[in-house]
């Protein structure tokens, strides 16, 4: 299976080029094409050495750079022709299009940086969920009509909820100290899985964010695997892990 990772610390060929331009302290409006091409290819080569999948965009850019390089090396035979309108031949610098793309991309890269700072700043503010106002409501049945929301509204509400940093619950400390045995956690997990009648995301088996609970849960899962009560499935590296109960009656060799 190919090593499926985002191959680089860069966001694509343009980002890589910008980085090389910065590192080599090159004027973006006057890029020495052969130098940058050499550096770029070195990078691609290294990725190959490491047997990493190289996104096709990187190869396309390599080809583009080579094309520009060869265009710039071409002896300008036609120059005599263009004596009269030199301006046109000046405009046709083979690098122009690339430079334009780099500058355009850099604009948004910087804007992304601004957004990052804003994200950070915003995260310093905490809000609270809307209070339960049922005590103030008249007891009228809400009507079935007049719904006016979209799927996005629902998703947004959910994200807001997830984003809302939940403070520790006052009871959390008590729950943490209430020791749960591996055996008990095992039956809990089995009960959860059987009730579900399907597979459950591995991470959903860790609802309580205390170290003890996580460790106990983890050991419980290992033990259940050993006893062939559950099976774990992961389709790709770093993909989601699913846990499912092995149905009883299924032919399983076990020593329990």
């Amino acid at each position: 299976m190919p090593y499926q990772v985002k191959i680089d610390a860069f966001e694509g060929p343009l980002d890589l080029l910008l980085h090389l331009i910065n590192r080599l302290e090159i004027d973006i409006y006057d890029i020495p094409v052969s130098q940058i091409t050499e550096q770029y290819l070195l990078y691609i080569h290294t990725m190959k050495e490491l047997r990493l999948d190289i996104a096709s965009e990187y190869l396309v850019m390599a080809a583009t750079l080579l094309a520009i390089k060869s265009k710039m090396l071409l002896p300008k035979h036609e120059e005599d022709f263009h004596d009269v309108d030199q301006e046109i031949s000046f405009e046709e610098d083979p690098r122009d299009e690339l430079v334009e793309r780099l500058i355009e991309y850099r604009k948004y890269k910087e804007a992304a940086q601004d957004l990052k700072l804003m994200e950070e700043d915003r995260s310093l503010m905490f809000t609270k969920p809307p209070s339960d106002l049922s005590g103030f409501a008249k007891d009228i049945q809400p009507s079935k009509s007049e719904l006016n929301v979209s799927l996005y509204d629902m998703l947004a509400a959910f994200q807001k909820l997830l984003r809302r940093k939940k403070l520790q619950r006052p009871l959390a400390t008590k729950i943490a100290r209430q020791e749960i045995s591996i055996e008990a956690r095992m039956s809990e997990i089995m009960e959860e899985l059987e009730q579900l009648k399907g597979r459950k995301n591995f991470y959903d088996l860790f609802p309580t964010p205390t170290k003890e609970h996580i460790v106990v849960t983890f050991l419980a899962i290992l033990e259940l695997m050993k006893r062939k009560k559950i099976e774990i499935e992961q389709q790709v590296n770093f993909g989601e892990i699913f846990v499912g109960a092995i149905e009883e009656g299924r032919d399983v060799v076990g020593n329990y």
């Binding site: 990772v5 985002k6 191959i7 680089d8 610390a9 070195l42 990078y43 290294t46 990725m47 050495e49 490491l50 990493l52 905490f126 809000t127 609270k128 969920p129 809307p130 209070s131 339960d132 106002l133 049922s134 103030f136 409501a137 008249k138 049945q141 809400p142 009507s143 079935k144 007049e146 719904l147 006016n148 929301v149 979209s150 799927l151 509204d153 629902m154 998703l155 947004a156 509400a157 959910f158 807001k160 909820l161 940093k165 939940k166 403070l167 520790q168 619950r169 006052p170 400390t173 009960e191 009730q195 991470y203 770093f238 993909g239 989601e240």
Partner: protein, 195 residues
């Protein structure tokens, strides 16, 4: 010398804790003072609330926790807010609840409240009345609480053919792995350059 505004910090804490409230112990721990001092800060803030007529909240003690609550004398306005026609479409509370039910069904009310951190009776009621969710059996175990799930109307309303069409939630964990991998690669890459 830096002056620490204890009451300001306490107000921030109590505000963010919302209906869950905070215990004296929690407050003392976060402020890094002993419980006696914490108690004084609480009283300080509460005095400010009680005496300053511009303030609309007070501190109440409920089930061993301190929490903020709106002043009773403003109840009429809160009633008006609830009945205001502008709040008659699905509220944030109802939408949150609906999303939780949609993604985590079948789910009990207690589990929803665990996620939301607030009472969820009314939003559930609203959603049932609008036929977006329904009772879908009972949970195992003590209490045998009702389980909630979405309805056909829910799918119709959002133009979904099936629940599988719900947008997938982003996998946080996966992204983190990718970042690690990227770092690892970068490190290796630099090594090869330097050799």
């Amino acid at each position: 010398m830096e002056i620490i505004n204890w009451t300001s910090i306490l107000e921030s804490l109590l505000f963010a804790a919302g209906d869950e409230g905070l215990t004296l112990k929690q407050i003392a721990e976060v402020l890094e003072v002993d419980e006696l001092e914490a108690n004084e800060i609480i009283e300080d803030l509460n005095r400010e609330y009680a005496e300053n007529e511009k303030r609309g909240v007070i501190i109440v003690q409920l089930a061993g926790t301190y929490q903020l609550a709106t002043k009773k004398e403003n109840a009429d306005y809160l009633k008006k807010l609830v009945d205001s026609p502008n709040t008659s479409t699905l509220s944030q509370a109802a939408l949150e609840t609906l999303a939780i039910v949609a993604y985590k069904q079948p789910i009990t009310r207690a589990e929803i409240e665990e996620i939301r951190g607030v009472k969820t009776e009314r939003p559930l009621h609203t959603l049932m009345a609008k036929a977006l969710i329904k009772e879908a059996g009972r949970a195992e175990g003590t209490g045998r609480a009702y389980l909630y799930g979405t309805t056909k109307e829910f799918l119709d309303y959002f133009g979904l053919k099936s629940l599988e069409e719900l947008p997938k939630l982003p996998e946080k964990v996966e992204d983190e792995y990718i970042q690690e991998e990227a770092d690892l690669f970068f490190e290796k890459f630099q090594e090869t350059l330097n050799t």
